[in-house]
């Protein structure tokens, strides 16, 4: 039961983080469409690092 609540909290945190990353990347691409490739790569790296963190917490909590 408690680990399910924990999983929910992790997903909320991860969701906020991914939303921030995605939103800012969209803004950045809209400002400078010619840099879209570089921004996308950076976005994916940060997204992956965040994902690693969230998944780590999920696995440890299981």
């Amino acid at each position: 039961m408690y680990n399910l609540i924990g999983a929910g909290l992790i997903v909320i945190g991860g969701g906020i983080g991914l939303g921030q990353i995605g939103g800012k990347a969209m803004e950045a691409i809209a400002r400078q469409p010619e840099a879209a490739g570089k921004i996308q790569t950076a976005m994916i790296i940060i997204g992956a690092l965040l994902e690693g963190l969230a998944f780590g917490a999920l696995i440890l909590g299981k």
Binding site: T41, I45, L49, E51, G52, F55, G56, L58, I59
Partner: protein
Amino acid sequence: MIGAYLKTAFFALMLTAVTTVQAQDDHLTDHNVHVTDAEDDGKVNTDDEIKSYIEHHLKDVHDFHLFSYTTDSGERAHVGFPLPIIVWTTEGLKVFMSSEFHHDDSGNVLVKKEGVTLAKYHSRIYELDNGVDQITFDEEHHPTNANKVLDFSITKSVFGIMLIGLIILVIFGSLGRQYRKKAIPTGMGRVLEPLVLYVRDEIARPNIGVEKSKKFMPYLLTVFFLIWIANLLGLTPLGFNITGQIAVTACLALFTFFIVQFNGNKDYWKHIFWMPNVPVIMKILLIPIELLGIFTKPFSLMIRLFANITAGHFVMMSLIALMITLKAQFGAVGSTGLSVFLSLFIFFIELLVAFLQAFIFTLLSALFIGMAVAEHDHPEHTGTGEEDVDEVRERFV
């Protein structure tokens, strides 16, 4: 390309070794995986059956099992083929085919081999104590009169990795032969060449550097195609779950870990043990943090790939199971339609994830390697910091 094949074969060998060392106390096995046949007047509890099916799929198994069905005479028939079981027992090495267990996973079928009695329970092989002819379990489903053996079996995942090695050997072998005759490949090579160039131009070169990346390209390409093909194989009805085994991803992460440590230059170690350009107290405080960072990087690589693929398989199988669980509410056609629609949707996302995870693993490996081999150019400054400001000011005035 023989080198690539040897590497994959080496992966396979290492994986079997790691599987044996894997967590002794596996919480997944604590559930009673076996379906209740006799409860509720012979009716099978579908929820339990689906749960056990998914759990069974997510684990590594000792035989290649495609599906099973009930024949007209009421017997359970299994379709698939056995794989070799190689175990190291107290009486030495034992090699036999998994068909001797007759698809039993509950420890009931005993295999007697010169002096030892073996039983398979929850995809683990146990050696029974001397003179015991029935395996017993305590409340947590741990056997009380049997011990685990060192298991080097060719399991389904190992078989899958060998298959990937063969696929890589065939497709890249033909690409390599084509380059001897002409500059532009044909057929399968047309697909592979842009991918190889993509790994080189988008992953290796920007993160490691043009000259230094040459040394690491073979590893990055091998790991990229191994993970990608393994992820794609996991989406076929063959039911592989190779990158969803934590032993596999742990091995891959270990390779990155060792490559980073062995190729780390003076600057890399200096940034860990004596960070330049920070106060001495910070230098000391940063040592444990940086040391921890060495291990968290491969750890997050391992967890990310494992959790992504496991979650993907779990979601897909749950959506397919909707067909059965929602039958009462929506009818056969409605639930099947919903299930097909949702699982098709997830399937396309999983196709993307299969590529993305291979890309991420390779990219982060390249990033870590690049951080270890980068040459920094720090002027070690000894003053209070004001001198630097003056220097900078002079430069601009």
